[in-house]
Symmetry: C2
Subunit: 288 residues, 2 copies
DNA sequence: TAGATTGTTAATCGATTAACAATC
DNA sequence: TAGATTGTTAATCGATTAACAATC
């Protein structure tokens, strides 16, 4: 009954404490930190339109949150508003930028230059927020040497030198899932302490390294869950009556299935789209 | 002090209630729904290795969560385990797939075929979970007619016909931010009721339409926040002593700045990387 | 001053976690 | 039976929200 890699040290999702404690040290809840970029984006748009001040109600609407939450969030940063008036747009842009660490330069490396790596390399929203692409890296000799977003793709072998020379602390992984842990290990070994992982893999990292994950398919699955419930409250086709039977009946059915060494449920599982196949193979998208 | 579009109806982030209530109707908390895809992925890997059963401890490690949370999550689905033994892998794959609605076919349209649209069109993780790309759409005549992932890119004008003919209920927006709301409106008008938005824009949709958002830059900003705190607990450069002064002093300083019509803080904000510039312009990434 | 809006309080709600009885 | 592991309970924690006093 062995499974894959034991979680020898901390991995991404299971240490909500690490990140939480870090921010709690300055008293800013993680949920608030996650919303600061939304506020910053809305404020930047106002700034570009030369709007001098904005109320919590207006800014909340622009950011897509409710105003009580916004005021609560801002209260963790300090008292930056003026009662009866609102918030000074420019000042708030600066304070939030500073709080998020965006007033400094953050060199990042992107590893795995497939379509997604390309998309990220070209993403204007990075550069405008202090993130600078220090290097694009790939293991594939056919990709190395090509250009993406005006930068040459360099070989993975140069990783350590680049990280050291440019003081890179943030790495972005856009490799196929099979290469992700290995790439992660090398990034960490080279000195990277924050990783943004686009590969559908659970990464294991030492304490002190933060991993965040963006999963292109999970959001779609969550949408499907809710969509299914809109259509009429019935479960999907291919359903067995047993699946909705009371607990004890279900448990007995499960036992029978196991005893039969597969049987009905296993057949259903195999006919389901999630059964087998090249799961999560992003090689077409993400050469490494 | 006017800001952009008033939130005439519900928009994505501010209605945590809508999605929550939908799932609560069947008793499954939203946080649990969001983890089901993680469990499914781990289980699928076990299934491919022909592992027959798995304990909550092992599966939790593979999915990157703690085992108490996993058992609690599974308890909302029913009693699918066997005490002393664990969970039947194939059966659980099927049950979670069914719960997420992945045992049925979900045709999706992708609008905006830049690098990111390409990456998504090629993403193997979609097809293997019941998501079928019904059409790729773009407004740019130079893009229309080219091929991506073996499919022809079709013109936006065909949107309504495609959605109707193929019963598309899920749309993916990978356009530049300026086009996103307009595209969203057309999707909704055509009958789409779930939207996955990659454009850095707050979308406004009518009740009954779900929007989820994937933001390529927000995760990086959250990492920067934590990274900044690792370096030593000092705020970034460009800092004023006033910024860390007690509340009343800060408030007074803010008032002075406003009275002076900008002054020090505004200058700092302008020199900060988030000040001005082509914010969120993904046109290089996402032609529409 | 009167009106407007912030910052904070307190109640509520949902999520997490450890512990353990139930039971295979 | 003895060992293993689930499913559930209850405590704790963090996040959300409405309401309103403070105050511009």
């Amino acid at each position: 009954m062995a499974i894959g890699r034991p979680s020898s040290s901390s991995s991404q999702t299971p240490d909500p404490g690490a990140a939480r404690r870090t921010s709690r040290a300055r008293g800013i809840p993680e949920a608030t930190v996650a919303r600061l970029p939304l506020y910053l984006r809305a404020l930047t748009a106002l700034s570009e339109r030369s709007v001098p001040t904005v109320s919590s109600e207006e800014l909340a609407a622009a950011a897509g949150v409710n105003s009580a939450k916004l005021r609560k969030d801002f209260s963790y940063l300090g008292s930056y508003g003026t009662r009866g008036v609102g918030y000074d747009v420019e000042y708030l842009v600066y304070q939030i930028s500073r709080e998020l660490g965006l007033t400094q330069d953050w060199p990042v490396v992107i590893v795995g230059i497939g379509n997604l790596g390309h998309a990220l390399a070209n993403y204007g929203g990075f550069a405008s927020r202090g993130f600078r692409v220090a290097a694009l890296l790939d293991a594939d000799p056919n990709v190395v040497g090509t250009a993406a977003a005006g930068l040459p793709v360099r070989h993975m072998d140069e990783l350590e030198a680049i990280v050291a020379a440019q003081h890179v602390s943030i790495g972005v992984i856009t490799t196929p899932p099979g290469a992700a842990q290995q790439v992660c290990d090398r990034l960490v070994e080279a000195g990277v302490t924050s990783i943004l992982n686009f590969a559908p893999t659970v990464l294991t990292v030492p304490d002190g390294v933060d991993v965040r994950k963006v999963d292109l398919s999970i959001e779609l699955q969550i949408l499907a869950f809710h969509e299914q419930r809109k259509a009429g409250d019935e479960p999907a086709a291919g359903d067995s009556v047993l699946d909705r039977a009371p607990g004890p009946v279900r448990a007995a059915a499960a036992k029978l299935r196991r005893a039969a060494g597969g049987g009905k449920a296993a057949e259903q599982a195999k006919s389901a789209p999630t059964g087998k196949g090249p799961e999560d193979d992003l090689s077409a998208v993400m050469p490494a």
